[in-house]
C-alpha cells in the first residue's frame, strides 16, 4: 500500500460552524445555510465562486441536492458522502482531493445533521435496509462500554480507578465546552455528578456519552498556492488518512477490545503523510472522536499520544487538559460540543482553524499553538467494526 498524501497542496481558507444543540426551530437547510454562509464570508467569496461542493450527512438528506436546493446553486457539482460518524471528515477529504487533482480551483465541504427530529434518545440510524433480523440491535453505548472493563483487565486498572479515569475525561471535555459559545453543553460538571449519573449501558453513565445535537460546519478549500488570495492565515492540509475496517474484531477471538486497529492504522498513515514522528511533542492539539469516554482513552494510545497501558495515568495527570502537554478536545469534543453526525468531522477542523490561527477565545486558547500542527480524528461504527479518519493540518507550509 502506498499513501502519497497531498501534503501542502490544499489550504483551508474559510470556515464556519453553527452552534450545536437542540435546534427545534431550525431544519437541516437552515443549519447548512448558516455554516456555509459563515465559511464563504470568512473566505471572502460567494457561493458561485466555489467550483464544486461536497456535503456530508448520514441521515438528513440524500444526494447533492441536499445542498444545491437550499443554497440555490446553479449548475454546480455537488456530491453527498456518508461514512457513518466520520461523514463530515469524509466530505472534507474528498473536496481536498478534488482541488489537489486540479479538477477545481476551489471546493466547499459542508457537514450537516438534524438528529433531534426523531423523538428518540441517542442516535437513530437512517438505515432502512431490509434485513433478516439477525443483526445486532444494541446501542453504540453498549458496544463501547465493553472497552472499559477490557482495558482495565488488561492493564490492571481496577473498577473504581477506571471510573475516575473515564470521569476525568468527561470532566475535561465539559470544562473545555463550558468555554465554547458554540457547544451544546456549556457547564462544567463535577466529578461527583459524573460518577453518580444514571447508568446507560454497561458501566457507562449519562456523562460518559456524547451529546446528541443538530448542527452544521463548513470549510472552503483552495489550492495552497492560491491561499493568500483569500486569507493571511490559511491552514494547510498535511494529511488525510482513512481506514474502513473489515469488521473482523467481532469475528476474531484474538481481538480484545483494548485498542482500535483501524484508528492505529489511520494514524500511522497520517503521520507518514505529514512527516510526524513524535505526535506527543509535535502536535499543538488534537480533536478526537470521544463518542464515549472509553473511546477517547483508547484513542490516546492508538494515536501514539501515550504508551500502551499508560493513557489512564496521563489522563489523571492532566496531560490532555486544556493547559496540559497535549490538549485534546479543547472545544469540548463530542461530549459537550454535541454530535451532529455529518457535521462533527468538520467541527473538529473548525477548532483547529480557531486554535492554529490564534482566533480561539482566550479562556480556552491552547498553549502550544506554535507547534503549528493539529490533528483531527473521527470514527464511525463500533469497537471491532469501525471506519476511522485521521487528518492533520498546519499553519505553515513545509
Amino acid at each position: 500500500m502506498s499513501s502519497h498524501g497531498i501534503k501542502d497542496q490544499v489550504a483551508i481558507v474559510g470556515m464556519g460552524c453553527t452552534k450545536f444543540g437542540e435546534h427545534w426551530s431550525k431544519n437541516a437547510d437552515d443549519l447548512l445555510i448558516e455554516s456555509t454562509t459563515q465559511a464563504l464570508n470568512s473566505a471572502g467569496v460567494t457561493k458561485q465562486d466555489i467550483d464544486a461542493y461536497w456535503v456530508g450527512t448520514a441521515m438528513s438528506g440524500m444526494s447533492g441536492m441536499t445542498v444545491s436546493r437550499p443554497l440555490q446553486l446553479h449548475n454546480k457539482p455537488v456530491t453527498r458522502v456518508e461514512n457513518f460518524c466520520a461523514t463530515g471528515s469524509e466530505a472534507l477529504r474528498n473536496a481536498a482531493y478534488a482541488v489537489a487533482s486540479g479538477a477545481y480551483d476551489s471546493a466547499l465541504a459542508v457537514g450537516v445533521e438534524k438528529v433531534k427530529d426523531s423523538g428518540y434518545q441517542g442516535l437513530v440510524g437512517a438505515g432502512k435496509t431490509p434485513t433478516d433480523g439477525t443483526n445486532r440491535t444494541l446501542t453504540a453505548a453498549a458496544m463501547f462500554a465493553m472497552c472499559a472493563p477490557a482495558y482495565g483487565n488488561r492493564y490492571g486498572v481496577g473498577d473504581d480507578q477506571m471510573r475516575e479515569v473515564l470521569a476525568r475525561i468527561s470532566w475535561k471535555n465539559h470544562y473545555n465546552g463550558a468555554r465554547n459559545e458554540r457547544a451544546q453543553f456549556r457547564k462544567e460538571v463535577s466529578m461527583d455528578t459524573i460518577c453518580g449519573a444514571p447508568l446507560m449501558a454497561g458501566g457507562l453513565r449519562v456523562f460518559d456519552c456524547s451529546g446528541v445535537a443538530d448542527g452544521s460546519a463548513a470549510a472552503v478549500l483552495v489550492r495552497a498556492e492560491d491561499a493568500h488570495q483569500y486569507t493571511d492565515r490559511p491552514l494547510y492540509v498535511k494529511a488525510l488518512a482513512f481506514v474502513a475496517g473489515n469488521a473482523s474484531g467481532n469475528a476474531d477471538p484474538d481481538y480484545d477490545y483494548t485498542y482500535f486497529p483501524e484508528i492505529e492504522a489511520a494514524g500511522r498513515d497520517a503521520y507518514a503523510q505529514a512527516g510526524v514522528t513524535d505526535p506527543r511533542s509535535q502536535l499543538a492539539m488534537a480533536e478526537v472522536h470521544d463518542c464515549f469516554t472509553p473511546a477517547e482513552l483508547l484513542i490516546y494510545e492508538d494515536l501514539g499520544f501515550a504508551e500502551r497501558g499508560s493513557a489512564w495515568k496521563e489522563v489523571l495527570a492532566g496531560t490532555f487538559d486544556l493547559a496540559g502537554d497535549l490538549p485534546v478536545n479543547p472545544d469540548g469534543g463530542l461530549k459537550s460540543f454535541g454530535h451532529p453526525v455529518g457535521a462533527s468531522g468538520l467541527r473538529m477542523f473548525f477548532e483547529t482553524w480557531l486554535q492554529l490561527r490564534g482566533d480561539a477565545p482566550e479562556e480556552r486558547r491552547i498553549a502550544h499553538a506554535d507547534r503549528g500542527l493539529a490533528l483531527t480524528h473521527n470514527l464511525g461504527g463500533y469497537p471491532g467494526e469501525m471506519v476511522s479518519f485521521v487528518g492533520i493540518v498546519g499553519n505553515e507550509l513545509g
Partner: protein, 479 residues
C-alpha cells in the same frame, strides 16, 4: 415395530410462584410454581429446544422422515410452524414437516399416529398456557415442550415399544376457546367429570386388554389432562397402587397443554428401568391410553438434559414481569424505535444461518465466520469455505454489557461477545441470565428464540444463555 428411539422435555427457565398471584389479587394462585416461557420464547422456539435435546440423545442412525408439531398456541395460523423447527434442526428438504394444531388432544394424537408408523417421525409438542389473572388456568397452566422420536428397529434401538392402546371419543362441551381469544372458558366442572371418568375407564380397560395386562401389572401410570377433578376421580378407579402414579409436575411446571403427555412420558423414560410397563393416560375430549414396555436400551440411554434437572435449574420470575411478558400489562418502553419487520427475501437467502446457526469455515486457515462469509478474513481465500454448524458448540463470554437504552420486549438487553470452542466469535444477546452474577469467562450455549415480532412476522434467531446449573459446558463438549 415402531418404538420410541429418543425423548426429551423442555422446561423454560423461569418459574412463577403461584403465591405471588394470591398476594397481588387476594385471589387465585395457589401452592407451588409454574414454568413460564421467556418473553423471547413461543411454542415454536420451545419446540426447537425440545427437539434438539431429543435428537442429541437419539441413536446416530435415526433420521426423522416426518416432523409433526402440535400446539394449541401456534405462533402462526395459515403458515406452518413446523417449518421453522425443521429449519432450526437442519433437517433435509425432503422431510415432511406439518402442524397438528388447535386442541390439547392433538399432541397425544400426533404421537399415536407416529407410533402407527411406518416412517421415523419426530413428534414435537409445545404449549404456552394462559388464563385471565387469578384464573385456574393461569395458576395451573405451565409452559413447556417435549419431543419424541419414533422409529422402527432399522432406525436404532427403541427405548420403549408400544404394548397396547385404547382410545375413546365423545363430543361434549367442557372447555373451549374461540380462535383469537387469549383464554379458555370451562363449563361447571362436575359435568365434565361425569363425562371424562367413564371415557377414561373405557380407554384404560381397552388398552390393558390390547396389552394383555391387568392393572396391577403396570409399573408406572401417568395420568394427565386439563380437568383436575376428573383426573382425581379417574385415578382412583384405575386399580393401581398410589406408589405407581407418576408425578404429573403440576406442582413445579404446571399443565403444559398439548405438550404435557409427551413431557411426562419423556420424564418417565428418563427414570425408567428395562422391562417396565408404563401407561400414559390423557383426558382431552375423550381419553387416550398408551401402554409402553421399556427395553434394555433404556438402561444405557443418556438423556441430553433430564426434565428433573431442568426443573431444578429454574429461576424465579416476579408476577409483574409475568403479566408484562404475557401482554396483560404494558410497561413504558425505552425511548428507542421498535424494529422493522424482517424481509422475507433476505431471510430466504440466509436460512441456514438464521435458523440453523450455520457459519462457514475457511478450508485453508480454519478461520470461522459468523455469519457465513464468501471471502475469508484471514488470507485471500474466496469461496473456499465449508459449512460450520455452530448451534451445538459451547462458547465462552469474552466481554459483555447491559444495554439499558436499546429496544427490547423486556429491557435491559444483556449482550455478550461469545467466543466459540474451536474458533469463531459472535456478539450476541444473552437470555435466561442473571446479569448481576454474569462474569467474563462464563460458559454459554446457544438457544433458539423469537427476538421480536413486527407486522405479525416473528423474527427467530439464536441467543446465548449460561449453561444451566449441573450442565456446565466443558471445553470441547456439546452438553
Amino acid at each position: 415395530m415402531q418404538g420410541i428411539l429418543s425423548a426429551a422435555g423442555y422446561v423454560p427457565y423461569r418459574r412463577l410462584d403461584r403465591g405471588t398471584i394470591t398476594e397481588t389479587f387476594a385471589a387465585g394462585g395457589g401452592r407451588g410454581t409454574r414454568a413460564v416461557a421467556g418473553y423471547d420464547e413461543d411454542t415454536t422456539s420451545m419446540g426447537v429446544e425440545a427437539a434438539r435435546l431429543a435428537l442429541r440423545a437419539a441413536p446416530s442412525g435415526a433420521h426423522p422422515r416426518t416432523l409433526a408439531f402440535s400446539t394449541t398456541t401456534p405462533a402462526y395460523l395459515d403458515k406452518t410452524n413446523a417449518t421453522a423447527i425443521h429449519a432450526a434442526l437442519r433437517l433435509d428438504t425432503d422431510v415432511l414437516a406439518a402442524d397438528f394444531g388447535g386442541a390439547i388432544r392433538s399432541g397425544l394424537a400426533a404421537l399415536t399416529a407416529a407410533l402407527h408408523g411406518p416412517d421415523p417421525t419426530l413428534l414435537v409438542t409445545a404449549d404456552v398456557r394462559d388464563g385471565l389473572p387469578t384464573s385456574a388456568d393461569e395458576a395451573a397452566g405451565g409452559d413447556g415442550a417435549a419431543a419424541i422420536l419414533v422409529g422402527s428397529d432399522t432406525d436404532g434401538p427403541a427405548l420403549a415399544t408400544l404394548a397396547g392402546e385404547g382410545h375413546t371419543t365423545e363430543e361434549f362441551i367442557d372447555r373451549w376457546r374461540t380462535p383469537g381469544d387469549n383464554r379458555s372458558k370451562v363449563w361447571e366442572e362436575r359435568f365434565g367429570e361425569t363425562k371424562y371418568v367413564p371415557l377414561g375407564e373405557q380407554a384404560w380397560n381397552a388398552a390393558l386388554k390390547s396389552a394383555e395386562l391387568s392393572a396391577d401389572q403396570v409399573d408406572q401410570v401417568i395420568v394427565t389432562g386439563a380437568h383436575a377433578r376428573a383426573i382425581r376421580s379417574l385415578t382412583a378407579r384405575l386399580g393401581v397402587d398410589k406408589s405407581k402414579l407418576a408425578d404429573d409436575l403440576s406442582g413445579s411446571v404446571g399443565f403444559t397443554g398439548a405438550a404435557h403427555p409427551a413431557l411426562l412420558l419423556a420424564a418417565a423414560l428418563e427414570q425408567a428401568s428395562p422391562g417396565q410397563t408404563i401407561a400414559l393416560v390423557a383426558l382431552a375430549d375423550g381419553a387416550d391410553v398408551l401402554v409402553f414396555r421399556t427395553t434394555d436400551a433404556v438402561g444405557t440411554w443418556k438423556p441430553a438434559r433430564a426434565v428433573a434437572d431442568q426443573i431444578a435449574a429454574g429461576a424465579p420470575l416476579s408476577y409483574g414481569k409475568f403479566l408484562t411478558w404475557r401482554g396483560v400489562v404494558t410497561v413504558e418502553p425505552p425511548r428507542r424505535p421498535e424494529p422493522d419487520r424482517i424481509s422475507a427475501a433476505v431471510t430466504g437467502r440466509t436460512e441456514h444461518f438464521k435458523y440453523g446457526f450455520v457459519g462457514s469455515k475457511d478450508r485453508t486457515s480454519d478461520a470461522l465466520h459468523l455469519p457465513p462469509a464468501r471471502v475469508s478474513r484471514v488470507g485471500d481465500a474466496v469461496d473456499d469455505m465449508e459449512p460450520a454448524p455452530m448451534a451445538d458448540v459451547p462458547g465462552t463470554i469474552a466481554a459483555f454489557t447491559i444495554d439499558r437504552i436499546a429496544y427490547s420486549p423486556s429491557p435491559p438487553i444483556v449482550f455478550a461477545i461469545v467466543d466459540f470452542d474451536g474458533g469463531g466469535r459472535l456478539p450476541i444477546e444473552l437470555t435466561d441470565v442473571n446479569a448481576d452474577a454474569l462474569q467474563v469467562g462464563d460458559r454459554v450455549e446457544m438457544t433458539f428464540r423469537r427476538l421480536f415480532t413486527a407486522d405479525g412476522i416473528h423474527n427467530y434467531f439464536w441467543k446465548a444463555r449460561p449453561f444451566p446449573a449441573g450442565a456446565q459446558g466443558k471445553e470441547g463438549s456439546s452438553a
